[in-house]
């Protein structure tokens, strides 16, 4: 990105990215072993037992309806409990695997590049050289284009590979795999260009309406503007469709559904999640993942503000007490605030998939209109969170190696704008889809 007055970065620095990738993958494998294979297998046995009990109970004619209901409820609880641990384990393994691939492949790709010699560049004077731009975003976009063109076949191929139906044909995976490879090369090159950047040579807009402003910041705000439109489309589609529904909530309040039975009313996600929603399923625990996620995003918005504030601070002092161990010096403090943000965002993805697995198990599938709009809108938001996490991986790497300070801290600031936007989108999505 910046070819201005840059730090000299030795290629060997990228070896640290490969090490970090290994550490992240190890965390993922340990978490999967503990949650998915350890607790998950115990919960699976309990679920199988409860399922067997329910099957036997169905044959037992001496049981009253309330006894049967209790046994059935026990089976549902056991199933959801098993899903919680299994899905959490698998999701942590999957996201840590993707983190490791991005960081590891990017680090390896950059470590084998020919070493550049920034110290003897006589075309540039120290703080005022020209910005040469970067082709990496275009390479990245070309990769995304190819990946998306091949995505339907990729899904079919993955379904067959995971024994979910269909026949596996290697050709199904080709286009998307090429796309993913190009994405990785684009991202790795982007990182390579940004890593040495220490804050000088930022491009400034020279004409209205952003005259005098950093072009990267203006560009990011225009990008956010387009993202508002994307989420507004999901939201307005939902509102438009919802005006035609007689939901459980409206039905219970007698506002619609004259002559309708409970079977005819539309069950929205919130009818499953609210404590007084769908009969027998909604309680404090079904609402918990969504609520925790809301707090997680707000806390992560604050931790990234703290990372930026620390980076920009000229007279930062280590806190006293227990926090001193976590934030011993400025460079480590910035890195650890970013790691906290990464961890909170990752938790958001894990809880979201746990929650989805519960909803699907309870019959709220993507095959219905209300399920489709819910999963598409919340899935698009989750995808934004996940893309943000992949970018944040790089920020953690840079904070750990080159470091952020008052000169190059704007890298965190601009990413922070995107992250706050993701939080802002959740401020709308959470009440609309989960609470109302």
């Amino acid at each position: 990105m910046m070819s201005g007055f840059n730090n000299h970065v030795d290629n060997s620095v990228w070896g640290r990215a490969v090490l970090m990738a290994g550490a992240i993958l190890t965390i993922g494998i340990v978490a999967f072993a503990a949650l998915g294979l350890g607790v998950g297998s115990v919960k699976h046995d309990e679920y199988m037992e409860a399922k067997g009990e329910y099957k036997e109970a169905l044959k037992d004619t001496s049981l009253t309806e309330s006894e049967l209901y209790k046994i059935h409820h026990h089976e549902i609880d056991a199933h959801l409990s098993y899903l919680t641990y299994w899905v959490a384990g698998v999701t942590i393994l999957a996201i840590s695997g993707i983190y490791a691939i991005f960081l590891g492949v990017g680090g390896f790709f950059n470590s084998i590049q020919p070493q550049e010699d920034h110290g003897h560049d006589d075309h540039h004077d120290d703080h005022h050289d020209d910005h040469h731009g970067s082709a990496s975003p275009i390479v990245f976009c070309a990769g995304v284009l190819l990946f998306l063109i091949g995505f339907p076949d990729f899904v079919e191929g993955m379904r067959a590979l995971l024994s979910q139906g269909g026949t596996f044909a290697p050709g199904d995976m080709v286009l998307s795999t090429i796309g993913l490879t190009i994405i990785m090369i684009g991202v790795a090159n982007w990182w390579r260009e940004d890593l040495p950047f220490i804050g000088y040579g930022e491009q400034i807009a020279t004409s209205a309406p952003f005259e005098g402003e950093h072009i990267r910041k203006a560009g990011l705000w225009v990008f956010i503007m387009s993202e508002v439109m994307v989420f507004a489309t999901f939201f307005s589609s939902y509102l438009r469709i919802r005006t035609e529904w007689c939901t459980k909530w409206a039905f219970d309040e007698g506002r619609c559904g004259v002559g309708m039975t409970e079977g005819d009313i539309v069950m929205t996600a919130s009818d499953y999640l609210r404590p007084d929603g769908h009969a027998g399923t909604g309680d404090f625990w079904t609402m918990l993942p969504g609520a925790v996620n809301t707090f997680a995003l707000i806390i992560s918005s604050y931790t990234i503000v703290l990372a930026l504030k620390t980076a920009k601070s000229k007279d930062w002092e280590a806190p006293k007490g227990a926090l001193k161990f976590l934030l011993p010096d400025k460079k480590t403090a910035v890195r650890n605030y970013l790691i906290a943000t990464l961890a909170l965002g990752s938790m958001f993805i894990v809880l979201k998939l746990v929650e989805w697995s519960h909803l699907v198990a309870e019959g709220f599938t993507v095959g219905t209109v209300q399920g489709s709009i819910f999963y598409v809108a919340t899935g698009a938001h989750g995808l934004h969170v996940f893309v943000g996490l992949l970018i944040m991986l790089y920020l953690v790497f840079k904070a750990d190696t080159i470091g952020y300070d008052e000169d190059n801290g704007q890298g965190i600031e601009y990413f922070g704008l995107y992250w706050h936007f993701v939080d802002l989108a959740w401020v709308v999505i959470f009440p609309a889809f989960y609470l109302y």
Binding site: F210, W221, V228, A232, T243, R255, I298, S301, H420, L424
Partner: protein, 129 residues
């Protein structure tokens, strides 16, 4: 957040409490999120027998959403303090969002008969004309 002089409310909070605006904004966001979830979790206002109706929840969610949205955009995204052009850029899509809302209203199956009363509560023009 960018680099701006600390003035007004931000300065007052910093002087009085020793904590900056980001800390207090975070506290406000956490409080209102708790309030938002509680509004749905409870069926009655705690300590009373006043039922929390669907429309009460609706109102609470909208008001809390506006407060939280303002807190994030104004302080965390630092639109307060940044040049106005960023606020204008951020608000530009609102025009299209309003158009979409208008479209939703007009394309509603009950728009022809119900829209007037929907727009103006207790106005029975639509049913009595």
């Amino acid at each position: 957040m960018g680099e701006h002089a600390v003035t007004g409310l931000e300065k007052w909070l910093l002087d009085k409490t020793g904590k900056d605006i980001y800390f207090w904004n975070f506290q406000v966001l956490m409080f209102f999120t708790l309030f938002e979830v509680a509004a749905v979790f409870f069926t009655e206002i705690p300590g009373t027998s006043i039922a929390i109706t669907r429309f009460m929840v609706w109102g609470i969610l909208i008001v809390v959403g506006i407060i939280k949205g303002y807190g994030i955009a104004a302080y965390f995204m630092h639109l307060r303090g940044d040049p106005r052009i960023y606020t204008r850029t951020a608000l530009f899509p609102v025009l299209f969002v309003l158009l979409m809302m208008w479209g939703i209203g007009l394309s509603n199956p009950e728009a022809i008969t119900e829209l007037p009363s929907w727009c103006t509560p207790d106005w029975d023009y639509a049913t009595n004309r």
